[in-house]
Symmetry: C2
Subunit: 231 residues, 2 copies
Amino acid sequence: MKEAPNKCDCEKCDVKEMFYEHVEEQHIEVVCNIKIEKAFKKGDMIIEEGKPIESFIYLKSGLVKLFKHREDEKGQIIIIAKPFDFVNLLSVFSDTNYNYSVTALEDSVTCNLDLDYIKDMIRANGEFALSIMKKISKVSDTIILESLTVRKKNIHGRVAYILLFFADQIYEDKYFELPLNRREIAEFIGKTTENVIRTLSEFRKDGIIKIFGKFIEIVDKEKLQQISDFG
Amino acid sequence: MKEAPNKCDCEKCDVKEMFYEHVEEQHIEVVCNIKIEKAFKKGDMIIEEGKPIESFIYLKSGLVKLFKHREDEKGQIIIIAKPFDFVNLLSVFSDTNYNYSVTALEDSVTCNLDLDYIKDMIRANGEFALSIMKKISKVSDTIILESLTVRKKNIHGRVAYILLFFADQIYEDKYFELPLNRREIAEFIGKTTENVIRTLSEFRKDGIIKIFGKFIEIVDKEKLQQISDFG
DNA sequence: CGCGGCTTTGATGTTCATCAAGTAAAGTGG
DNA sequence: CCACTTTACTTGATGAACATCAAAGCCGCG
């Protein structure tokens, strides 16, 4: 993990948008100066469960997973976050310590802002406060409603759902490399590794997907969508 | 000291706390005057999925359920909210329309504040903004983390969990009347009605609980806790 | 009283977890 | 670079957990 030079040059950064819209020029300068970018290699730990929350962390590039570590048993993946999703949205304003971990699924860069400074900005600027609330609210809503959506699906529906999630929302391509191994997919959808594999194999046998190790090609997207919707 | 002429008399109201802590006297006056209390009978609809969000709603007394309606199939209960939980926290700052419904499980009273007014307060008062964010964040966190906790339990664990939830968190008594029918318990824990009933019967046969229709008495709380923890 | 909704129990089949065992791939140390 | 270890992946067999279907009892209400 290494630090990059400070530049507020990120395209499409929601936080920057919020700043430019609602914060005066001189404060933006300060934020740009205090922001720290950190680079992570695939597999690196970005946030560790239990550690104190000191920064407001935003994902600039790459892909990460949020998960709860379970001592004895297997972990649980809460969400896969792509760039410009918040990374530490869950507890950042409600708790002093993280109650989940975050690791990089691909080489990733985060943008870190001192949390006390952000809090000062919120105190000083109500419009900025509302923007942040809206963003955080939105992400929480998404997690909650998606978990309800997935909860009612059987394993075929869940595997189809996650394949479409990567194809549509992350890679925007029907050919992509899975950023998760089979065990992690299982931890994400709440089923066992063996049955995830079995389901993938069945999809392959039925000509719905092609599998080349971690690479997936979606052949019959319509069918996969049906399985996701009605499974 | 003179008694306040307004009706901001609710004990233990977090929102009032936030106001008193961070808002000037004359604004509290205004809030007390614009607040509208609404009374609901058991079973009444408080919020309907799809309708526009116009108020900041707080539960003053009673008990409510938040749920998603599912056209064909059975619904899904997201959370049971008790007094002084926010009722419409989920989308209130991120969306224009509700994406869940709320009904009263017991006779309930809500405290409704005009959302635009609350937003103005947030814009004008950063400390108040932070308090609200903290509260909302906390509720979202709880929902997300509890759903992960429940997800890994089998049906025995889930039923035990929900019985303890009512006994400890809602009624603070080992004898209580279930505010949900069997089907609703099933919708809450994501299992079928029949198997919820079967599990309750088994708990009864094992002497862990007593059942008198909707009334439950927890006999062996330690055992029930074990089932919840390890089930 | 009879109707409809809620509850309960039983029988049956499906879905899925677990266990076992083997193959492939990826890292490690000489 | 090769032997060795470890980790990931895959398939099959088995049983447990759970959904579904069916039927009957209960209870409140018009």
